[in-house]
Amino acid sequence: MSDPFLSIRNLGKSFGSVRAIEDVTLEVPRGEFLTFLGPSGSGKSTTLYAIAGFLSPSQGDVHIDGRSILDLPSHKRNIGMVFQRYTLFMHLSVGENIAFPLRVRRRPAKEIDAKVDEMLALVRLEGYGDRMPAALSGGQQQRVALARALAYDPQILLMDEPLSALDKKLRDEIQFEIKRVHEQTGVTILYVTHDQEEAMRLSDRIALFNNGRIEQVGTGQQLYNEPLTRFSAAFMGNSNFIKTEVMARQGNFAAARFPDGTVVKGVPVHEQAGGGAESVLMVRPENILIETRNEGSGLPATVTNATFLGDCQLITARTSWGEDITVRSVLAPGEMGTAARGEAVRLIWPNAGSYLFL
């Protein structure tokens, strides 16, 4: 098997006694759009900055195309970077901003002019070459930053939460631009964000960070439907975590008993090291069905809240031991709701849509 294009091996960084990242390992094939996703302080930016060269890692190595880049200073790594705060050179025009990396590389003037035009076309800002950055909107400035980062055909493009300074509508627009540029240029992209929807929209794969470590790596689908840990399940989308007691266990499946005696069998199990917390059964709100006939299998509960949201109904149901479970019921056209407040119902879900975290 050939070396993956970007290889991050056991990367670690400590600031004094604080471990920012630990044992970060990742293989990224050429041309992939990989997102570092996670809450603030989880280590995603630290990893990115280590790759960019602004931080020296305490342990580990980073290889691009088979060669370690850690012994190269930042300006020799040929990496493109787009920051959160645009960081355009305000005293230079848009064209000069894009030309800067080429001027620094002492490229001939004709080549520079051609490249600037090409980049402006790529981010759809043709004719903006002579404008000053201060005259541009936030979205336009970010596009110039993108053009500048790609002007020298970098091996990798790093993006550190580039859209968090923009409003929602603009964010959607630029997300689309980024995706388009990725498809058009085929550059490998490492993208940092804390917004999981953004991650799912843009990326081929997602690396989920938690407390300085990579919790799980996979496609958006994998992370959503097959979360390996409690944290992954909670971070991606919404989840219910219901207190249970684990009974008979057979390999990767077990039976779980709820505090009111209800038993569910054949639930997939995920071991979580160093839990200390009680076992929970995770099931997503949209996977739960409400059975209004209060009989048969399923978890008995009473509806405490039912909100009509247009395309679905958001229901909160309280179990007999006082735990609240959220259910998201998609409504058929014209249907007003599946349950009403105060109703006694049963909650059913397929085993494939649930997990037991020990």
């Binding site: 960019a52 060269g53 602004f54 200073p73 930042s74 300006h75 020799k76 790594r77 040929n78 990496i79 493109g80 970077m81 920051f83 705060r85 960081t87 355009l88 050179f89 305000m90 005293h91 800067f100 990396p101 620094v104 590389r105 930053a145 500048r148 980062a149 020298y152």
Partner: protein, 265 residues
């Protein structure tokens, strides 16, 4: 009511009166000097009996005044260049550095600003006598540099602190070496701070009296020194002309600095 201009009532008139008086008090001597320099009376009679440019002509014709003028200019320019350069690299340390005692160091650099100049002047005088720098250009420039350094550090470090380092990092990622990035990106971005430092250090040297008195020799005198020794002898209106020129230069430079600051905002 007390802090509302329109609703102060009688109090407003009292305050306005005092303010006008004090403002006149502050501005009249300056106007007075400039008027005197054009007055035809040799005995500094005010209002002058006539108007003349004679004192300015005398000033420009006098080789000693001219020598003092050029000496002042030379020293001030040298002080400006060296102080700004030194303040620039020091500001990088004070703003970007992460070392223990950084705040103490910053306070230490500001000390020449708070000590009485006469103490610094006397101390340097003694020191320079010993090492033979007294009455030399080098001694003058160094002495003024010590005094001007805090006034240059303050605007430069303020500008540098206000500059987002990520922009410099972006330049590095784009392929510029750290020093190239600082030269091509950071420096142009803090140029308003640099200009302020240059203007301040120039003016501080140009107007400085006490250290100059100690550092001077018969062949090396700045304008303030000449004015000082002339004042102790007589009050010829040529001094008024010299003073007016000093005032003019300061005014021009301060206006320049203010204009540049407005443009930067």
């Amino acid at each position: 009511m007390l802090l509302n201009y329109d609703r102060m009532g009688g109090l407003q008139w009292v305050l306005v009166f005092i303010t006008v008086l004090v403002s006149l008090f502050l501005i009249l001597p300056v106007v007075f000097i400039i008027a005197l320099s054009f007055g035809s009376s040799q005995w500094l009679v005010f209002p002058p009996p006539g108007w003349t440019l004679r004192w300015y002509q005398e000033f420009f014709a006098d080789p000693r005044w001219m020598a003092a003028f050029w000496t002042s200019a030379k020293i001030a320019v040298l002080v400006m260049i060296f102080t700004t350069a030194l303040a620039l690299i020091t500001s990088f340390a004070l703003v970007r550095g992460r070392f223990r005692g950084r705040e103490i160091l910053r306070a230490a650099f500001l000390t020449p600003m708070i000590l009485p100049v006469v103490v610094v002047a006397v101390a340097l005088y003694a020191f320079f006598l010993k090492i033979g720098l007294n009455g030399t250009m080098t001694g003058f420039v160094v002495a003024h540099m010590v005094l001007a350094l805090p006034f240059a550090i303050i605007p430069i470090s303020a500008a540098l602190a206000g500059f987002d380092k990520s922009t410099e990092d972006a330049a590095i990622v784009c392929g510029a070496s750290p020093w190239e990035a600082r030269l091509r990106i950071t420096l142009p971005s803090i140029r308003h701070g640099l200009f302020a430092a240059m203007v301040f250090s120039f003016l501080i040297s140009w107007d400085e009296v006490i250290i100059a008195i100690f550092m001077a020799s018969p062949s090396l005198q700045t304008m303030p020194v000449r004015i000082w020794s002339s004042l102790r002898q007589d009050l010829s209106p040529v001094i008024a002309a010299a003073s007016s020129l000093l005032i003019l230069l300061t005014l021009v430079l301060m206006l320049l600095a203010a204009l540049l600051r407005k443009k930067a905002n």
